[in-house]
């Protein structure tokens, strides 16, 4: 039988496990910060490259149909909107401030969850529809010169891919994301109740 004082002295005199040194950790934290920034930078650069590609198409290629130009503009607009929303999301994630009290942290998580629900709902449908219309209009003229069978196959592949992303992949991603955030919120709610006891 041990009393609490004995447990306490056991804690204080416990053998120290070998730990990472401050210098090694410093290297890792710097690398970690850079990789986060790099990830964001890569995504933004990819969006920018697509945007530039559309501008090049618009300026240096002559298309016969106004539908193609409309397609290019719609696609460019959608990409721009997506890039802005992506940046906003990044800001939301970054604002999950671990330095605040548990209650404030919980409040921020709830706000984030609401924001994501809004984004993953109607907004994502609007995005998918706009992108489909833009690319669809663009494809009309591009595919006009290819054999009919290839044209039909290309349209099927395009529609199939957009439907797969919008109705299957999207739901799966949203479900996983909501589950994760929901679990954190549940645990924090439980903790809040425990402190109230």
């Amino acid at each position: 039988m041990k009393n609490f004082e004995e447990l306490s002295s056991m804690w204080v005199t416990q053998p120290q496990k070998e730990q990472i040194t401050a210098d090694v950790l410093l290297k890792q934290v710097k690398k970690g910060t850079q990789s986060l920034q790099q990830k964001l930078l890569v995504s933004i650069l990819m969006m920018a490259a697509t945007f530039v590609f559309m501008i090049v198409l618009f300026l240096f290629f002559l298309f016969n149909s106004w539908l193609t130009y409309a397609g290019i503009f719609i696609t460019m607009g959608t990409i721009l909107i997506y890039a802005v929303l992506m940046y906003r999301d990044y800001r939301l994630i970054a604002s999950h401030d671990p330095t605040v009290e548990v209650n404030i942290y919980l409040q921020k998580l709830k706000e984030y969850q609401k924001g994501r629900n809004r984004m993953n709902g109607k907004m994502l449908y609007v995005y998918s529809v706009l992108l489909s219309i833009g690319l669809g209009l663009f494809l009309i003229e591009i595919l006009r010169s290819v054999p009919l069978l290839v044209e039909i196959l290309a349209y099927f592949a395009f529609i199939g891919w957009m439907a797969f992303v919008t109705f299957y992949l999207r739901k799966k991603i949203i479900k996983t994301e909501q589950e994760k955030i929901g679990q954190v919120i549940n645990r924090l709610e439980r903790l809040k109740l425990q402190f109230k006891d």
């Binding site: 056991m10 990472i20 890792q28 934290v29 671990p98 330095t99 954190v184 645990r187 006891d197």
Partner: protein, 165 residues
């Protein structure tokens, strides 16, 4: 004027052991505790410019560690084990091995407490002053004293129960 690097080094040296113990009490797994400790200090590094001395730096770091541990616990698979596992202490002198077993058992008993109890008791064991514990956990000092008394009894009971097995 101190650079950010040297300030970080000092903070790490002064707090890493306590933070590791807190993380270990959440996970009962040394690899996971190390990961959580590193994640905590990554956040410390990222937010160091935000720290404005409104509270003690150790209070601030504890708060980051607690939030990091709670976020980590979101995955059911990652929760501390329900069953107390037998300890393996091969090739160690009997005295060292015995002490290690005792400490391991203590950690596993802490891991069986509620989250709020784990936060509080690891700070009590690390001799963090009561006003600081109250600030980190966000409860009044009076309420805290009652809670600490209850947690101490619960932990001692748990320890003695499993020690007999």
């Amino acid at each position: 004027m101190k650079t950010k690097d040297s300030a970080f080094r000092e903070i790490f040296e002064a707090n890493s052991k306590r933070i590791y113990r807190l993380c270990y009490s959440y996970t009962a797994d040394s690899a996971a505790a190390n990961d959580l400790m590193q994640e905590t200090f990554l956040k410390v590094w990222q937010n160091l410019d935000k720290f404005r001395n409104q509270s003690m730096i150790s209070t601030w770091i504890y708060r980051i560690a607690v939030n990091t541990c709670l976020t980590y616990l979101r995955s059911e698979k990652r929760q501390a084990k329900d069953e107390l596992t037998p300890f393996i202490a091969e090739n160690e002198p009997e005295e060292v091995s015995g002490k290690k077993e005792e400490v391991d058992l203590l950690y596993q008993c802490i891991a069986k407490l509620e989250e709020s109890e784990r936060i509080i008791i690891t700070m009590v064991l690390d001799e963090v002053p009561y006003p600081e514990i109250a600030e980190i956990s966000g409860i009044s000092e009076g309420n805290l004293r009652v809670k600490i008394h209850r947690i101490k009894s619960k932990l001692t009971e748990l320890y003695n129960h499993y020690e007999k097995l």
